[in-house]
């Protein structure tokens, strides 16, 4: 249903909330440019947890292959937004 697809700002806000809650990150560190591994200190196991959480949020399965190319917070927002808009 395209009618209630959240916009990217909304996706970013949701993702920011997850990152703070799951990994105790500081809100001001979470910018679209922030790199998940280098800047925010996530590791591969954290990434799996995050994907699981995002699957709950989007209601869609996120293939690991698609998440491989993700580097920054902004990349995650784009992926999730694309999923929600049914572009994948």
């Amino acid at each position: 249903m395209p009618m209630d697809v959240p916009d990217k700002a909304h996706v970013l806000a949701t993702l920011t909330g997850y990152l703070i809650e799951m990994f105790e990150l500081q809100a001001d560190a979470i910018t679209p440019q922030a790199r998940l591994f280098d800047d925010l200190g996530l590791d591969s196991i954290d990434a799996v947890d995050l994907v699981v959480r995002l699957q709950d949020y989007t209601g869609r399965k996120i293939p690991a292959s698609e998440f491989k190319t993700v580097r920054t917070v902004g990349d995650v927002v784009d992926q999730v937004h694309a999923l929600l808009s049914g572009q994948h």
Partner: protein, 192 residues
């Protein structure tokens, strides 16, 4: 052998604790190349998680394979299973949370793989502190560069750290961060 040759001197605080270990997860800082060798000698039935690059190493590859060590590039589930199985079998599992030897003078940085293993196993951690003076066989100095005087190694069995409080904080990701920063602060206090 190195000790026999008088090249190094080794002091161990808590040798009896080490030799009594059974199915124990052991974590240590990793200042030198000899850490593994010495711990192997002190711990019965020692198993080790080693960086996967060593599998491809011409000299050490056959050794780590023959010893049945656990490679750190197994996928997360397989690695956890391997660690659980070896602890359950009564082996003592050594992990160096720094992942690779520390660089003298630099603050140490821990990977959280060990913390995730400890939380998911779940297993209490026997914490060791390894010191070496003067520094030898450290990262960034060639192995043939012999120290000016005999190297004194000191291994201290610091504490048996219960995993329960870190499990109690809730999500595993948070518990792993708390555990890593606890040990980072501990080893950091003794860093040079």
């Amino acid at each position: 052998m190195l000790r026999g040759l008088g090249l190094i001197r080794l002091t161990v605080d808590g040798r009896a604790t080490l030799s009594a270990c059974h199915g124990q997860l052991v974590v240590a800082n990793h200042p030198t190349l000899l850490d593994v060798v010495m711990l192997m000698a002190l711990l019965p039935n020692a198993q080790c998680v080693v960086k996967h690059q060593l599998w491809a190493n011409r000299f050490l590859g056959p050794v780590v394979r023959a010893a049945g060590y656990i490679s750190n590039d197994l996928d997360a589930e397989a690695l956890l299973q391997a660690c659980r199985a070896t602890l359950a079998a009564g082996n003592n599992l050594i992990i160096f949370p720094e992942g690779t030897r520390s660089v003298p003078g630099q603050p140490i940085k821990l990977h959280r793989g060990f913390a995730n293993i400890a939380l998911l196993a779940p297993a209490d951690l026997l914490v060791l502190r390894i010191g070496c003076d003067p520094v030898t066989l450290v990262k960034g100095s060639p192995w043939w560069q012999v120290p000016p005087r005999r190297a004194n190694f000191r291994i201290v069995v610091s504490e048996l750290l219960p995993i329960a409080p870190f499990l109690a904080v809730g999500p595993r990701a948070i518990g792993a961060r708390r555990l890593a920063s606890h040990l980072q602060a501990y080893w950091g206090r003794y860093g040079d």
